[in-house]
Symmetry: C2
Subunit: 181 residues, 2 copies
DNA sequence: TACCGCATGTAAACGGTTACATGATTAC
DNA sequence: GTAATCATGTAACCGTTTACATGCGGTA
């Protein structure tokens, strides 16, 4: 179901075939989840059945004919709804990045609140780290110390980035309504 | 199957019941994956069947009796084998953190090579980011720019941490053979 | 003609979560 | 007596990956 939303988001940018989507995503496996054909094609079928997509068969001059999918108004509605709603739980990096990638489908205010939500989640996570550290004091072994130190470093970097991004965005939204500057 | 390995690693530290494992892990959901009871108990059964664990029923004074699992020699062998072998693909944060948490089951040299492997993976990922950025130049929209910027920041932070950690570790291993300093 | 890349698709297996069921002990 | 916590377990379901099958067009 998560893969479906990402696919829908990519198709909001431009019409593509399943194969196109696969190629686009497989280079970006580190950024977002890259579905295999086994989930990609069924997802396209399902969303077409739901009326979120339309499909055109395009006879390519060279090579076999392709099925190009295009998002519908209903699809855009569903997409916006999904991006706007907060994550249920867990601060999955990929889940957040997926929404970030699809930021163009959000208004400036929505994007800002999305980043703020993330910031508060990461902050809470840092507090949890500190608490966990204090609970068992220095008694923990090397592995836990390394892991905690590591995740603390990443969380700090993330908070710093969010702070910068929010500052930049707020400056822009104060001037114009659009973010595409 | 990944959950199994993490459970095995936790039991390498000390014998625990399924419930203990669950409680330990659910506070750490941001660090590593936290399996539900529906996968936790079956995993314990499976590993017991394979001879990786033994089980003792402990009649607790207060409360119901608990099933305490203990790792076997075969279990330790399988565990070491798993931690030492490199990740097939993808630089999943949780997968790496899981191994980091279980660092105590590795020799100093093994741990160092694990960190070095991670460093080269993250480096390769940064190169990929740069290439991807140059390929479509400034043509990409806000979403992609944000996502790329964000992941670049995290990757930089991770590389910096790995560098520091490797330096610290090498200093230790030069002195003694053990890492528990 | 044999092979490779493009392009689409399906079935089985896998790993996991959700939801439920059970039962004992402690606290109100 | 009933609610909450401790503790273990199972079955149904869900989304994904893996592996396979198909066919077209270019090329060696």
């Amino acid at each position: 179901m998560k893969a479906q939303r990402l696919i829908l988001g990519l198709l909001a940018r431009q019409p593509m075939s399943g194969y196109d989507i696969k190629r686009l995503l497989e280079n970006l496996e580190w950024l977002v989840s890259s579905p295999s054909f086994g989930s990609l094609y069924p997802a396209l079928h399902a969303m077409s059945d739901q009326g979120l997509l339309t499909m055109d068969v395009v006879r390519n001059g060279n090579g076999p004919s392709r099925k190009v999918y295009r998002i519908t108004d209903a699809g855009r509605r569903v997409l916006r709804e999904w991006i706007a709603q907060p994550e249920k739980r867990g601060l999955s990096l990929k889940a957040f990045l997926t929404k970030l990638v699809l930021a163009d489908n959000l208004s400036g205010a929505e994007l800002v609140s999305c980043l703020q939500r993330r910031r508060s989640q990461v902050s809470a996570y840092c507090d949890g780290l500190d608490r966990g550290g204090r609970e068992n004091g220095e008694a923990t072994d090397l592995g836990w110390r390394l892991a905690r130190d590591y995740s603390q470093a990443l969380a700090d970097a993330e908070l710093a980035w969010l702070e910068r991004a929010l500052e930049r965005l707020s400056r822009r939204t104060l001037i114009g309504g659009t973010l595409d500057a």
